[in-house]
């Protein structure tokens, strides 16, 4: 990929396109060092970003709900190989429709090294609900503020630094269609994974008594399933009375989901390249 955009003064030298290397690897994701998940509301341009990074041609269409299964692809950035997983667009992680379940299960149990939440700069407020929910699950989150060109056309000015400060995680402005800001975004992702940036995700957890109840439940869950990621999130869902999580816990399905999501399924990618055509 050639980046012909002028280097913005806000970009750091180390993330400047002249010094960084992005190599698209298509579906060759057999050997990878890190897994990145792409989440976000429907129609915010996840698939466009996915295609820009991997060089694949995952179908993009201007209607919410285009991606109904997860698609995988690979790319190399600064000599590190990444597997990128494009999740279906969701407004929340709480409901039980099939596409939301795909997204939720992967962020929860697939243990991506980092999750990029792609947001729509023109309707940031609604998009932030999902960002806050993802931040409940994992600390390794980076927000990509996409569609900056559309926001500009609508006369909106979005300040990534204010967002980053409030959320406690990096927020990067991008325009996925033209590739603007993508290198900065990848730089931030790498920094979060390597610990160069320590995130302090804002946790909006309801009342203090609720927090106390969560803290009582977490050790119990960890004791039952050692090494389970996101015990905190499961505790919240159990307190909320989420029937699916309750069922998963009592049938032992939870352990299955964890192992299934963590398997490096290379065959899955091959299958996607057929099933993904629509």
């Amino acid at each position: 990929m050639t980046n012909t955009k002028t280097v913005l003064p806000t970009e750091h030298c180390e993330t400047c396109p002249a010094f960084t290397q992005l190599e698209q690897m298509g579906i060759k994701v057999g050997d990878f060092d890190r897994v990145i998940a792409l989440a976000g509301n429907p129609n915010t341009g996840k698939s466009t970003l996915f295609n820009a990074l991997t060089g694949l041609k995952q179908h993009t269409g201007n209607w919410p709900g285009k991606t109904v299964t997860r698609a995988e692809g690979g790319f190399e950035f600064n000599k590190i190989r990444y597997k990128l997983v494009d999740l279906p667009g969701t407004y929340s992680l709480l409901s039980a429709s099939q596409d939301e379940e795909v997204a939720r299960d992967f962020i929860l149990f697939g243990q991506p090294s980092c999750t990029i939440v792609v947001t729509d700069a023109t309707s940031l407020e609604r998009n932030l609900n999902l960002v806050l929910q993802v931040m409940e699950i994992t600390e390794n989150v980076v927000v990509a503020i996409n569609l900056m060109d559309e926001a500009k056309r609508k006369g909106l000015e979005v300040d990534p630094r204010s967002l980053s400060r409030d959320l406690g995680i990096p927020a990067i402005a991008i325009t996925a269609r033209s590739g603007e800001g993508i290198h900065t975004l990848l730089g931030a992702v790498a920094d979060v994974i390597e610990g160069n940036i320590v995130t302090k995700p804002l946790r909006v957890g309801g009342t203090p008594e609720f927090q106390k109840a969560v803290n009582e439940l977490v050790p119990m869950i960890e004791q039952m399933a050692p090494g389970i990621p996101n015990a905190r999130w499961l505790a919240i869902r159990l307190l909320d009375g989420d029937a699916r999580v309750q069922k998963a816990l009592s049938t032992g399905e939870l352990a299955d989901i964890v192992s299934r999501q963590q398997r490096a399924d290379v065959q899955f990618s091959g299958k996607m390249s057929v099933e993904g055509r629509q």
Binding site: K57, G61, W63, P64, L128, K154, G155, R177, D240, E275
Partner: protein
């Protein structure tokens, strides 16, 4: 620590929480999002309505929304019909010419007649037919459709048609999955994953086949052009043909509503659920992406699939047509045996035979039919233009307007192709629903064509 203990603990903790704790959480989530967004976003203009909203007022208005939708559908089909007719005959001339050359070459170097026949009159002819019939409409339809998709028009369609689906007890997003069905019904069935409610998703899956897919469009276009439009002045041909195809599509939409209504009052009882659908901003479609998606992902993909079934189908027909029985051949004998049933539906035995051979892919119905009509020798290649097709069918094989109309109805309503049935099975994980999808559609097709044939005969139209 047992799972049950944790569940019990969670239960007791939950009961101790104040009643409104869920609302508290959601409220704090929304308040926080609002505050953060307020700090990060500044509006530099005070334009109240932008261009998008002006367009949306027109295309989603209760008065102009539906007419605009019909106009766009008509426009796409008209482009497809008028463009396809021209290109189709060129491709036919070239491909059949290659067939003649290949056959002559094989005869010259002394290859046994049955090898030459099997390869050139069977396999190759099947392929040549499928390519010349299918490729031109797809090359025009898919880019046009992808253009509207990338522009952001599809959710507006869902918005316009929502109230109708609601009345039938189905989900408003069903119009999105129907739109995908125009490309390929299997893709339409997969697209139903956007529907949350399992009941409404099943309705969308079971009725998707009433949208004619690209495999069936060529059949409709050919019949509309050769039969319906033929009696009009040449200047109007493509307009009349396009109007006919639009009419057939609308009949399909009508059957979608009827079937959805019946299903949601019988086996899939329930009310339509509410949902929110974003109307995305209009975006300028990216030309290279449209071409890639429509040519590589869609056209080549669908055509390749059709060719994979056309080659063996061509071979089977050739073999059937070359096994002599009395003074006829096996293909004819089977067709004659099926003829009474075919006539009952206003069709004939050859058409029924073509449909049976074409179960793997609807695309090959017309080629199969033509090859059986042309008979055992098949020393001539297929007809390359509309007049020749008309002569072959009407003068040679006794077709009437009823045959053409009923074949269009049958093509619209009959059972899904094997790929779609498999997809339905995979998506529902149920043999029952997959079977129902076949029985329901095939049953509708048989009943409807039987009724139209009977009425036409009673009234003495044919």
């Amino acid at each position: 620590m047992e799972a049950n203990e944790i569940l019990a603990k969670a239960e007791s903790l939950r009961n101790n929480l104040s009643t409104g704790f869920r609302d508290e959480i959601v409220k704090s989530l929304y308040t926080e999002a609002e505050n953060i967004a307020k700090r990060a976003v500044k509006s530099t203009s005070d334009k109240k309505y932008d261009f998008d909203q002006k367009i949306d007022r027109l295309v989603t208005s209760p008065y102009t929304g539906l007419p605009i939708m019909l106009l766009l559908l008509g426009l796409i089909i008209w482009l497809t019909v008028s463009g396809a007719n021209v290109v189709s005959s060129w491709i036919a001339v070239v491909l059949f010419g290659i067939g003649d050359y290949g056959r002559a070459l094989f005869n010259q170097i002394g290859i046994p007649w049955w090898i030459t026949g099997f390869l050139w009159d069977g396999v190759y002819l099947g392929l040549a037919w499928v390519v010349s019939v299918m490729l031109p409409p797809m090359m025009i339809f898919f880019p046009a459709f992808t253009f509207l998709e990338d522009l952001g028009y599809l959710p507006r369609v869902a918005f316009n048609m929502d109230w109708m689906f609601k009345k039938t007890g189905a989900h408003g997003k069903q119009s999105l999955t129907m739109a995908m069905g125009f490309g390929c019904n299997a893709a339409g069935v997969i697209a139903t994953r956007v529907i949350d409610s399992p009941r409404e998703r099943l309705i969308a899956i079971l009725t998707n086949n009433f949208v004619p897919c690209n495999g069936r469009f060529p059949t409709l276009i050919m019949l509309a052009t050769v039969f319906v439009a033929a009696s009009f002045p040449p200047a109007l041909t493509s307009l009349i043909a396009a109007a006919t195809v639009v009419g057939v599509v609308l009949i399909g939409v009508m059957f979608t509503f009827i079937a959805s209504w019946v299903l949601s009052r019988t086996v899939l009882k329930g009310e339509a659920s509410a949902f929110t659908l974003e109307l995305p901003p209009y975006r300028r479609p990216n030309v290279s992406r449209i071409l890639y998606t429509s040519i590589i992902d869609r056209t080549i993909f669908v055509l390749w699939r059709a060719m994979q079934t056309a080659a063996p189908a061509g071979a089977i027909i050739w073999v059937l047509a070359n096994i002599p029985i009395a003074d006829s051949n096996l293909a004819r004998a089977i067709a004659d045996w099926l003829n009474p049933f075919g006539l009952l539906l206003g069709l004939d035995g050859v058409i029924i035979l073509a449909y049976i051979i074409a179960i793997p892919a609807n695309e090959i119905v017309v080629p199969t039919m033509m090859m059986v009509y042309m008979g055992a020798g098949m020393m001539i290649n297929g007809p390359t233009n509309n007049t020749e097709i008309f002569n072959l069918l009407v003068n040679g094989n006794g077709w009437t307007m009823l045959t053409a109309v009923n074949l269009m109805l049958f093509a619209l309503l009959h059972n899904p192709c094997a790929t779609t049935i498999m997809t339905i099975y995979k998506e529902t994980k149920s043999l029952k629903w997959a079977t129902l999808s076949v029985v329901m559609t095939l049953g509708t097709a048989i009943v409807v064509t039987f009724l139209t044939a009977s009425i036409a005969r009673l009234l003495g139209w044919v």
